[in-house]
Each structure stands twice: as structure tokens, then as C-alpha cells.
Symmetry: C2
Subunit: 198 residues, 2 copies
DNA sequence: CACTTTCCGATGCACTTGCATCATATCCCT
DNA sequence: AGGGATATGATGCAAGTGCATCGGAAAGTG
């Protein structure tokens, strides 16, 4: 049997390089050569991993979508059981809003892709169902809050989830655009969650 | 005196072409040649109007920022005087969220620029103070609502304006990404405004 | 150690990019 | 009408683009 290589690992490595480049200098600055250099592999390797540039970008998007989702669930799981539903909600949403410094990169990348949604249908599809998943997550948290009686029964979890997701994404935009600091954004988010509690 | 040309008009024409191109196929698809073709002028004309491509993009961004702001104020002014503050708020916000079909182009362009904010400082500056202006507008509307006693006095107009703006921008993202229909988004916005009224 | 099979990375290629150049056409003022 | 300033658009150019190609390096098996 011939030489074998861990393609998946390399793909991930390349995806990270793509994200770094996008975050640093925008999406149009992403060229195969630059990606190869950033990932510290040869251009040939990149071409072997992805048949086309678009495929590469798509994979990068799926990659960060997955990471965002995972981190959110992880944060929920990590919270020790007897936690107030409201703080759970706040934490999760602030994770989704990509506010902290380390998530900044992901926020840039995410918005760059949103900006390209009209251009690529497959890309838009990934965005769509990532949002659907996140919505379900938030809705579930709200129901949980209703079970613990922190959140009034008369509120519609699906509706409230839509609002909260919108606020979170709006804040992402505002932070990336430099209009809000992460702290301010967090405060806005907090107030929005608190409003559910009465 | 020699030949004279209405540069401002041409610049606007070119800016519109830029926006159309961005909305149709993303920001990286914008080349001087394509812009010239779309605006139906020669490439030389484009180069005379803007010294560099970046300058052209910046102008285009300022252009649509101005248009969004103007349309919002226009909608307020057009509303006959004895209008409920709440409907005024809803109308203005839905305008800002760029929900309707005709604003779709502007929404795409706007988000494309947000995606490039990290890359260009001057660009980010425009975004920042456009948001500042919009915030002031919304805050003013909320105060007006408090004057007419539709909105409780104990609410902080600045804070509420932040929340509402965030929701509006979040919905813009969701609509552009194809996750929400404009109608759904409008409903979310409506509910968010209604919540202020008690 | 050879050998087969997979992988690599340099190079080539056709094309596009943003910007500079310049002869020509265009217009206003005297 | 004509002179002189200005705008114009075709063309040139170097750099960069995505993708295709291919000789040879590398690795697991006999």
C-alpha cells in the first residue's frame, strides 16, 4: 500500500488558514497561494484536498459553523446542573454572538460569508440550516426556563427565540463594525434576557 | 474654460453600478471593468472619477449609508402628524432593517461592507458613525413615545434604542442569509416594539 | 531491497486584475 | 471661429489569479 495521509486533518488545517486570512484582510484577499502559505503547505496539497476554491470556502464555512454550534452546546454541558436557566441563556447567547476576543475571528468570517450568501446558493444553504439549529437550541433553553418557572408560561418559546437570535446576530454585526465594544454588547444581551423573566 | 462634466452625477451612477454588482455576485466580483460596463461608461471615466478602487468602494458605501438614513427620516416626515409613536417606530425600524424587496440590494451591500470592516479602517469608520446616527434617530423616537405616554417613563431610551437596533440588524442578516422571510422578520420586529408599550 | 501506488510541489498557462499612458475628441470662452 | 484646456477611452503593462500538468519523492508491502 502506498503513502497515506490524514486528509481530514489537513483539510481542517487549511480551513483554519482560510479563516485567519478572511479575518485579517477580507474574503477577496483569499487566494490559493496565500492559503497554502498560511497553512504552511504547498499549493499542490491544497489543490489535492479541494477540487476547487469554492469547495474550499464552503468547507471552511461548514467548519466554523460546526465549531460555533459545538462551543455553545459545550458551554451548556459544562455548566453544573443546578444553574439558573436565565444565566444559562445569557451564556449561550453571548457565545453565539461571538463577542469575546477569541471568537472575533469567527465573527468576521461568519459575516464575510453572509455577505456572499447571494452569490453562492450552497453557501446560503449552510447558513440557513446553521441558523435553524441555533434557533432550536435557544428555543429549548427557553422551554427549560419555563419548566423551572423562571420564565412565564404565556410566552411563546419559538417567538422569543427568534427575537433573541436576532439580537445576538445584530450585536455581532455591531461589534465587528466597531460600533459596540463586546462589553456593551453583552450588557444589551443581558437586559434582553432579563426582560423574559417577569 | 474647457469641457465640463457633472462629476457628482457620474459618481452616483457609478456607485449604483457598484452596489448592483455587489448585490448580484458579491464584493470580490467587483472589478473596474465590470463596474464601467454596468454603469455604461468607459473604464477611463471611472478612473477619472475615483483615483483608486478603494476610494470608489468607500464612496459607494457612503452613498448607501446616506440613502438609508434619508429614507428613514423621509418616512418619518411623510407620516402625518397625529400618528401613534409605536407605529412610527415600527415603520422606521423596518425601513432600517432593509426588509422589503427593493431594499434587498442595499442590505446585501451593507453586509458585504461589514464583512470587510476589519480590512479597511476608513470603511469601518463610516459604518461606525452611520450606526451612531441611526441610534440617535431611534432614541429620539422612543423619547417621543414617552412624551405621548405610550412608552413607560422608566425605560432608558438609549438602552432600548440599542436593543431595537440590534434586532433590526440581526433580522437584516437573517433575511439576507435566507433564514427568514421579510414577513417573518417584520413580525419579530413588531413584537419587539410592542413589548415597549406596557 | 525493490516495487507499486499514492502524494507532492514546482512550473506552465490562459486569463483577469488595478493602474498608467497618450493620442484624440470634446467643449467653453474670447 | 478658433484656441486652449480638459475629458475620454483604447491600449499597455506588470502582477496576481485559479487551475492543469508532470517528473520525481515518499511510504507501506512483498
Amino acid at each position: 500500500m502506498p503513502k497515506q495521509v490524514d486528509y481530514e486533518a489537513r483539510r481542517l488545517r487549511i480551513a483554519d488558514a482560510v479563516c485567519a486570512l478572511i479575518a485579517r484582510s477580507g474574503m477577496e484577499a483569499v487566494s490559493l497561494r496565500d492559503v497554502a502559505a498560511e497553512a504552511d503547505v504547498s499549493m499542490g496539497a491544497v489543490q489535492r484536498c479541494f477540487r476547487t476554491k469554492e469547495e474550499m470556502l464552503l468547507f471552511a464555512l461548514e467548519h466554523i459553523s460546526r465549531r460555533v454550534g459545538e462551543r455553545a452546546e459545550e458551554r451548556i454541558a459544562a455548566t453544573s446542573a443546578p444553574q439558573a436557566a436565565s444565566t444559562l441563556l445569557t451564556h449561550t447567547l453571548s457565545e453565539l454572538a461571538l463577542l469575546d476576543e477569541e471568537s472575533r475571528t469567527q465573527a468576521h468570517v461568519w459575516l464575510a460569508f453572509v455577505g456572499h450568501a447571494p452569490a453562492g446558493e450552497r453557501l446560503a444553504a449552510v447558513l440557513r440550516d446553521t441558523y435553524a439549529k441555533l434557533h432550536d437550541l435557544v428555543e429549548w433553553l427557553i422551554r427549560y426556563g419555563q419548566d423551572t418557572e423562571e420564565i412565564p408560561q404565556h410566552l411563546d418559546p419559538a417567538h422569543e427565540a427568534h427575537s433573541l437570535l436576532a439580537v445576538a446576530d445584530g450585536l455581532t454585526v455591531h461589534v465587528v463594525a466597531g460600533y459596540h465594544s463586546p462589553e456593551t454588547a453583552l450588557a444589551v444581551l443581558q437586559r434582553q434576557v432579563d426582560r423574559l423573566l417577569r
